[in-house]
């Protein structure tokens, strides 16, 4: 199973939640599978999906899923400490760990060598850290969302590999405004 297969499998869960989706191929693949106003596609700032989702979860009550990658988490590992200490129960971090920098040509990341993001997350203070296969991810995501008392970090171990895909044609302000409109707190949208 690669990232595109996994996103296909979890798309119905994503549709019912606020989603912050990582820059590059993850966002492009998700956009191709199903474009939704409650999907915030990152067009820049690699590494910050987990952090954007955390800020969003702290600011309103709907459940937030941050879709991140192993390469991106390695770039912003300090945020696991912030998540471990501050994440509210409406927050799930889904790390799609394919051991490679998919958007830049599938170069290997350190999770394909010695680094365990599960161990890093546990050491950083995250309590509910699940490492699972791509097939198990739907089930683990549902459990995380149903648990109204705890936040989760789910590390989905899959194969590398990408599908051929175009950049997202949406304007950043369109992405921003329809996402904020979906949340429903801004009167002028």
């Amino acid at each position: 199973m690669n990232r595109f297969d996994l996103l296909n499998k979890v798309q119905n869960i994503l549709k019912n939640n606020l989603v912050i989706c990582n820059i590059g191929l993850p966002s492009q693949e998700l956009y191709k599978i199903s474009d939704q106003p409650n999907f915030f596609y990152m067009l820049g700032s690699m590494g910050l999906s987990s952090s954007i989702g955390l800020g969003l979860a702290l600011s309103q009550n709907k459940h937030v899923i941050s879709i991140d990658g192993d390469g991106s988490v390695l770039m912003n590992m300090n945020t696991l400490a912030t998540i471990g200490n501050r994440a509210p129960s409406n927050y799930t971090l889904l790390i799609i760990d394919n051991g490679s920098y998919g958007s830049t040509g599938d170069q290997r990341t350190f999770t394909d060598e010695k680094t365990s993001l599960k161990d890093v997350a546990l050491g950083a203070g995250c309590k509910n850290v699940i490492e699972c296969s791509g097939e198990e991810t739907v089930n683990e995501l549902n459990k995380a969302i149903d648990d109204k008392d705890n936040s989760y970090v789910i590390i989905s171990k899959i194969n590398s590999g990408n599908v051929k895909i175009d950049p997202i044609p949406l304007n950043p302000i369109t992405i921003r405004d329809r996402f904020r409109k979906f949340i429903g707190k801004v009167k002028y949208l």
């Binding site: 910050l48 955390l54 309103q60």
Partner: protein, 166 residues
């Protein structure tokens, strides 16, 4: 404490209700005030760039965020500012302790101080430079300005303004 209280009062008056900080000794009093303020969210974060991301999320959730940091933090955050906050036009207040300005005892802070305003200018980020107490009165209007222009804005507080705020 008087200066720090005035800054926080003005930020709150400007509508800021979500605060992060990467600590600085010049921000210590403000952090104390915010930790005891039940009306707003406050947390420390390990790194400024990450804080930019959390602020972006808070804005999406309809909060008005502020990140407090040393001017060195701008150096850690340039891509996040340009490719996230500015790309999506997100208002965030940067409350910056301006280390390396006159009065600073640590020579190494001088390097970033010399280029801080150049960086902010290059990024086209509106600046409010506070070197005396009377300038603090402009903070609430300046914060509201961030929302009007949908942009991050920077408030720079000089070393000498903050250092005796016991």
């Amino acid at each position: 404490m008087k200066i720090s209280k005035k800054i926080i009062d003005n930020l709150k008056k400007g509508g800021v209700d979500f605060y992060l900080s990467v600590p600085c000794k010049l921000l210590a009093n403000m952090i104390d005030i915010l930790e005891n303020d039940k009306d707003v969210y406050y947390s420390a974060v390990p790194r400024e760039e990450e804080g930019m991301g959390i602020c972006a999320g808070a804005y999406l959730g309809n909060k008005f965020p502020c990140i407090m940091m040393q001017n060195t933090g701008i150096g850690n955050s340039v891509n996040a500012i340009v490719s996230l906050l500015q790309l999506y036009q997100m208002p965030v207040v940067f409350l910056i302790s301006y280390r390396g300005t006159p009065g600073e005892p640590v020579g190494a802070q001088g390097g970033m101080a010399k280029i801080t305003e150049d960086i902010l200018q290059t990024l086209r980020i509106p600046m409010l430079h506070c070197s005396s107490e009377k300038e603090l009165d402009k903070i609430s209007t300046f914060s509201k300005h961030a929302k009007v222009v949908e942009s991050p804005v920077a408030i720079l507080c000089d070393f000498n303004l903050m250092k005796d705020d016991k």
